[in-house]
């Protein structure tokens, strides 16, 4: 079936930029600093570059198969059964990702704003929103993600600007010898932890067949990942410069603490952090939505469904169950770290595998000519 063309390259860029920024934005400075101390900004840069490579692979493959999504042409490249097996893994991984993100944000909300609300309620609200939104098709999916871009980036940048006054450059030192004296394993882990935040970049493979100009997808993908990466790097720098590595270890969500230090003294509003929490609901929603949507699309392709709508409701109880599994916030972050890093092999490995298959296939075609 021919796919309607309605997504522009700008929309692709903005969608990627929005989907990558999720609830991980709150905790990632702490986790990275735990591994590499002041090397954390460098780890974020490396992670961004790593994921850009992944993005380039997906965009390149998308350009080779312009009428099909990444899940559809995988069947041709690696065979139907291996394709299905991989898709089940990807579907399960992204469902887990969506579940963990909603659980994490549920914890954030319950801890900071709604202390008396049971966590199940806040998680359920997030998941329900994503479920309803997942009933839309890919064009609407791209539109929704595009729409939220300013709501995701603007508050974060405002926080950074407002908190600059308490920043100390000494906290960043040593700036140049970033990974100096760190173990290779912890450097690797820190990069992986940040890179795991980027896994939603796989939506490129879904959106490309709906684009006016797939040729511009490559640039759009790189810029999109670059924008999201820059935000992570900026936030890394500003949290580090405001709190320093010693204090960072004690802060559960350094980015939220950053919002608390930001204040407009003479204005209508005295504290800004509740507003940031509220506006970040969009960021969290869009990330959960993207992960959920990828999972639904993958699973509906496994079962060769014509319409993915019904599946989104079927997945709702599964996500709720997955979100309830970690007993407390400590084990939640443990699970997030493990799932994130192991899932990275999947989200980076899947396009890589397809690329290899594609190269072999084209080489064979060429040699046969």
């Amino acid at each position: 079936m021919e796919k309607p063309k309605s997504v522009t390259a700008t929309q692709l860029t903005m969608s990627i930029g929005t989907s990558i920024i999720g609830v991980g934005i709150l905790a990632f400075p702490r986790i990275t600093v735990e591994y590499v101390r002041t090397g954390a900004p460098m780890a974020a840069i490396c992670a961004m570059l790593l994921m850009m490579c992944g993005g380039i692979v997906v965009a390149y493959l998308g350009n080779q198969y312009r009428e099909r999504t990444i899940f559809e042409y995988a069947d041709e490249l690696v065979g139907q059964w291996i394709g299905r097996l991989l898709l089940v893994c990807i579907g399960a991984y992204f469902l887990e990702l969506a579940a963990l993100a909603s659980r994490e944000f549920g914890e954030v909300v319950v801890t900071s704003v709604l202390q008396r609300t049971p966590i199940e309620v806040t998680v359920f609200v997030m998941v329900l929103m994503a479920t309803v939104a997942c009933r839309s098709d890919i064009i609407v999916f791209a539109r929704i993600l595009t729409f939220y871009m300013p709501f995701v980036y603007f508050p974060a940048l405002v926080i950074v600007v407002l908190s600059l006054k308490s920043a100390q450059s000494a906290n960043l030192m040593p700036l140049l010898g970033m990974f100096y004296g760190q173990q290779v394993k912890s450097v690797f882990m820190s990069i992986m932890v940040v890179a795991a935040l980027f896994t939603n970049y796989i939506i490129v493979g879904l959106i490309i067949p709906f684009m006016y100009q797939p040729t511009r997808a490559m640039r759009g993908t790189i810029v999109g990942i670059g924008i999201a990466g820059s935000l992570y790097i900026i936030l890394m720098f500003s949290t580090l410069s405001v709190f320093g590595i010693e204090e960072m270890d004690n802060l559960l969500w350094p980015t939220m603490e950053l919002a608390k230090t930001a204040a407009l003294p003479t204005f209508y509003i005295e504290r800004l952090d509740p507003i940031f929490i509220a506006v970040w609901v969009t960021a969290v929603f869009s990330a959960i939505f993207a992960a959920y949507y990828v999972a639904i699309q993958a699973l509906s392709h496994v079962f060769r469904l014509k319409n993915h709508r019904g599946l989104s409701i079927l997945a709702l109880p599964i996500i709720m169950l997955l979100a309830k599994l970690p007993p407390n916030i400590v084990s939640l972050y443990h699970v997030i770290k493990q799932v994130g890093v192991s899932g990275l092999c999947l989200t980076l490995g899947y396009p890589l595998l397809l690329l290899i298959a594609h190269v072999i296939k084209t080489a064979r075609v060429k040699s046969s000519i």
Binding site: E2, K5, S6, V7, V140, F147, P214, P274, I277
Partner: protein
Amino acid sequence: MSLFGRLKYRKPYVPVHKRQRIEQAQNRTPSARLHDSEFVGNLHHDLGIFEDILGGNADLLIRRFQIQIHKRKIHCGLVYMDGSSSKEELNQILRALMLDIDISTHTKNSLEEIVVDQCLPYVDVDMKYSVMEAANWLLSGNSLLFLDGVVKCIGLSTQAFKERSVTQPETEQVIQGSREGFIESIGTNISLMRKRMRTSNMHVELTQIGEQTATNVVYCYVEGIANEDLVREVRGRLERVETDALYGAGYLEQFIEDNHYSPFPQIQNTERPDKAVAAMLEGRVVILVDGTPFALIVPAVFSQFYQTTEDYDTRFLMASMIRGIRLVALIFSLIFPSLYVSLISFNPEMIPTKFAVAVAGGRAGVPFPAIAEIFGLELIMEILREATIRLPQQIGGALSIVGVLVIGQAAVQAGFVSPITVVIVALTTIGSFATPAYNAAIALRMLRFPLMILAGMFGLYGVMVGLILIANHLNSLESFGVPYLSPVVPGDRYGLRDTIVRMPVWSMKRRPKQLRTNNPQRVRTGEDTKGPKGRPLSETTGVRRSRGGSARETQKD
């Protein structure tokens, strides 16, 4: 897949015995009997058809008379509807036939040709061959002339329905700009648009909708600008309307809109011919319905509902500022009460301390939680608003003063609500009145109630959840294949010049991109033409690139 979506209608199932009964009843109706009859050429018989079937109607009149052509006496009959036809014109017709008739030259033409070509000094004369056709003509207020021995009748356009004169539009008043508004008569409305657009490209197509009312519906577009797919889609949707009666434009709107369950209007209506013409030149289709002083404009996007024609009549800086104020008012009317509830009940630490003390002091004697208080007051405000609409103008003004001032003041003094709540409710209501489009304003005004409930449950988080749900809905909405939030999403940098701000008129050289017009450029720019400040115009319109893989060749970035 077609560019513009399709609608599905399903016919209801009717059991066989019921269907038979319905068919029997249908066969006895005058229109079915008219359908079965035929003209035979005998005056007595032909007039008898109308006498028998429609003769029971008090306003059907038949005038029998004789005329003389070539020394031949011919019996004639004039059938007309009393009141709907102009008596003066009928008198003139009779005068022309009975007195002024003078056929000196002998021709071989048949009788009816002689009468039509040489005796009737009228513009609009039409032969009617079938009874059904003749009856429709008659029931539209026209008259029929029967000649003995002729197996057809002559339709004379003597229609004279009463119509009011063209007056100022009531709902879309402007300070500068035209004072003409549409009226109920479709012919006048078309002429009002023609008056403003003297291009042969303006195309007006007529259909009739409604089995019983057979209401005239006209859709107009500019050929060479409007996308053919869009026109085809409009035509298709109009054809698929199945109803016995069409009472007005709002009635038709509900048949052809995309999402029937959305609170947001997906079709714009306007009372102003200049607005309709401007919409047509953007590449939209305008639908007129006989009997309604409103034109429907499709497709409609969200930004159209806070724009007014006046925005384009004033200088761009002022227009942009006024539009900005209107947008702020729009957002006020949606989220102000819920924001208040969440700040008071969930995040009082955000309010500056002095003000928080004042708020707490005002709320000291109030027994209800903030959500109950504001919900009740907003509800009362909606009731007051609805009540004042139905009242005559003189009483309405008095009632609104009583409602707002006296009830508000008394409620505060009675300790029923806090003063700040009254302020918030007043701001919300005023904000909702600043939105120019009534149907869009009412959508946002109604949506603030669920938002208030969410705010009462979850505070700011709840407000945000509500807003996300609304935004998701808006993003998924389409009007005749055009995304509802365009040109914001999907972005169009030329369209953005006329969305939140309004850039100078001379800089808006392109039609809205989302409409996929056949002629995206408003002005054809020559090489030697200079724009304002001496720049070549081609510079101001940017680089023209053709989109590879786009739906049509002519679509330019």
